[in-house]
Amino acid sequence: MTTLRCEQARAMLMAYLDSELDANATLSVTEHLKGCAGCRERFEREGRLEQALVATLREETMPADVRARVLDALPGHAPRRMRRRPRPRLPVRREALAFAAAAVLLVAAGLYLYPFGRVDGPPLALRATASHRAAFASSDGLVPPERVDALLRGAGFGELPIAHGGFVNGHMVELLGARREDLAGVPVIHLVYECCDVPASVFLMRRADFEELPVGLRPVLVEGASLDEVDDLLDVRFARRGDLVLAAVGDGHHLEPASPLL
């Protein structure tokens, strides 16, 4: 044990109060305090202040609505990818509602969205929705997220940074995996995402691999490409970055149609 002077003891004040000194130093400080009324009072008063500070700052608790949302976001008993939430029929102006999820995904990938219009089901969009549906039904051949970057590099798409997930507009977007596919004769990388338990897809392809841009890079609403029993619909959005063209597929009516992303 070391005999301490007052300034040495006070230099260890907080570590002593935090019980962070080793046994020898603790003993030295304790012995000093026994014989020094000034330091003892100082330690006691600092300890009392610290306790009062902590008590004041510990009062805050998680709001009940936030707690409920955090716990509700945890997956239930069924595997996440096969779980489907009950979804209502789309209202009359369904074309105004259907684009949000794909927009979320494109923005998550850091992409620029082009102005959109509407046409009905060109082949590439129909194939994209069919492939999207197939990926939801079966994950066969899906490369896990940690190997997606390698898959992209191997397929010549390595220059595009792909978002693996995160929160966009309060919605959790998560990359589930990817695979190489042939889409109406166009080689693509199919990225499978999940947004709020609803699947969504992004297809990467090269501009040079097809003759005409799908509908001049406009989003496409595909009728009848249903995932469920209801007469649901899927939308396909196209975007371009350099030589790459991206198509995003998702049924977005579970998201706010007035999304600022649109």
Partner: protein
């Protein structure tokens, strides 16, 4: 699956207030704290199979939350590694000569009851690195070693940040007393 979910919830739910408190004070923008906690909780759930039951769940889930905050704030990790210990000692030495600070020490509960809202603001205005260490130690009760491991910084750096944060908050309290009363600086 159900058992695993129940185990996870049983461990998680007692920590939610602390996770929220920490995230809310480390994140500024509205909604960000909730996003951070939610993302951390989902990450913890996905990694839960790797968690060894019986080890420190609280430290484990806080480490995930801290990493989530790091991901949203790239410069924070670098700032945590920067300290200036010389200035710490000066701050404390100055406080020790403050009559106003003696008033704080004389009746801390009374002073704090008058400034509880402002104190929360003062905590949020601490430099981020100091704030993070202070919250982990003083409010959430982690040891210096646990904080050093979680933040991947040396123990001495933890102590330096903590010391500075505490000194700043004490200075804030002394300022409050000085502005609301008559205490003067004690001649040295």
């Amino acid at each position: 699956m159900a058992d695993r979910r129940a185990d996870f919830s049983a461990l998680l739910e007692p920590e939610l207030d602390a996770l929220w408190r920490f995230a809310e004070r480390m994140c500024w923008e509205g909604g960000t704290a909730e996003d951070c906690v939610q993302e951390a909780v989902l990450t913890a759930w996905r990694k839960f199979e790797a968690f060894s039951v019986g080890t420190n769940f609280r430290a484990w889930v806080f480490r995930i939350l801290v990493n989530t905050i790091f991901n949203a704030n790239n410069s924070l990790r670098r700032r945590l590694r920067v300290t200036d210990r010389g200035a710490d000692l000066d701050l404390v030495a100055a406080l020790e000569r403050e009559e106003a600070y003696e008033h704080v020490l004389a009746d801390p509960e009374r002073v704090l009851s008058r400034v509880s809202d402002e104190l929360r603001g003062a905590v949020k205005s601490l430099p981020q690195a100091e704030r993070m260490v202070f919250l982990l130690r003083a409010i959430e009760g982690f040891s210096y070693r646990e904080i050093a491991d979680t933040l991947e910084i040396p123990m001495g750096t933890v102590m330096s940040h903590l010391f500075r944060a505490r000194a700043r908050l004490r200075e804030f309290l002394a300022d409050h007393v000085r502005e609301s009363g008559s205490p003067r600086r004690v001649p040295s």
